[in-house]
């Protein structure tokens, strides 16, 4: 195929862009810059790990149904795994967010990495919220009763009805996890493509600035 034709193809454009920006060596490197040496760097991967436990326990729950955990002790344990992994997911994500803020990790054309991370945070709150609505217990009754006013007040309730169990369970297990999954994937690929942000003072000498 001549180079001209290849140039116009979407497929070859995608392949070349991918190879240029995210070659396998960048996706799965075996070294990191020397400054990647702090416990704070573990909170991103810890958040992903918690998400993994959430998805795994959630899958088991989805096979057994929303009421399973009320009467089965195994079900209660799996539900507890889901519950505590969500707590840790948010704990790790918040610490990760604090860490990245104080690193000003959006420097060096990493704005989109920050944006996808923040979107993942906001989206996770929505996903967790729908989870609380489908516990099929007193808590979910009350949360749906209270939360309806918030969503109704700005018209969201006309399409997103928190008291509709069927809608909430479908969104919680289908739409929202897919959204979170895609945002997380983009976030992680961006981190790999752009590399870990260098220290704020890393280039001061090079730029001839006095400290």
């Amino acid at each position: 195929m001549s180079a001209d034709i290849e140039k116009e193809m979407w497929t070859s454009k995608l392949r070349k862009g991918w190879q240029k920006n995210l070659p396998i060596e960048k996706l799965l490197p075996d070294t990191q810059p020397a400054y990647v040496a702090s416990w704070i760097y573990l909170f991103g991967v810890a958040t992903l790990a918690a998400l993994g436990v959430i998805v795994a326990s959630g899958l088991v729950l989805s096979f057994e149904g929303a009421s399973w955990y009320h009467y089965s002790s195994v079900g209660h344990f799996v539900n507890s795994m889901h519950f505590w992994s969500v707590q840790f997911f948010f704990i790790f994500m918040v610490v990760h967010l604090w860490g990245k803020f104080w690193m000003a990790a959006w420097r060096g054309r990493r704005l989109l990495t920050w944006i996808t991370g923040a979107l993942a945070f906001v989206g996770s709150i929505a996903t967790a919220f729908t989870g609380y609505l489908i516990q099929t217990n007193f808590d979910s009754q009350w949360i749906s009763y209270e939360a309806k006013d918030g969503f109704n007040s700005v018209g969201i309730g006309s399409r997103f009805n928190v008291t509709n169990f069927g809608q909430m369970i479908l969104l919680h297990v289908a739409f929202l996890p897919v959204i979170i999954g895609v945002i997380t994937l983009i976030h992680v690929l961006l981190v790999r493509a752009k590399g870990v942000v260098p220290p704020i003072d890393a280039f001061n000498n090079e730029l001839g600035e006095r400290k």
């Binding site: 070294t31 020397a34 040496a37 702090s38 416990w39 704070i40 573990l42 909170f43 002790s73 209660h76 507890s80 707590q87 704990i91 918040v94 610490v95 604090w98 860490g99």
Partner: protein
């Protein structure tokens, strides 16, 4: 059902400061986050000997 299931389902204890109130458990969660963050900043990271670094 959880070994401390009974304890966990007792009435929660809340701390009040005027208009502010928070359950002990939520307070612990928030303190835990702050402690994690603090420790992550100050604890030395292992395997950081200069000799292992490569150019």
């Amino acid at each position: 059902m959880g070994i401390f299931h009974h304890f966990m389902n007792l009435k929660a204890v809340y701390i009040h400061w005027g208009w502010f109130q928070i359950s002990i458990t939520n307070l612990l969660v928030i303190l835990f986050m702050l402690v994690l963050f603090g420790l992550a900043l100050v604890l030395p990271f292992p395997g950081n000997k200069k000799g292992k670094d490569q150019k």
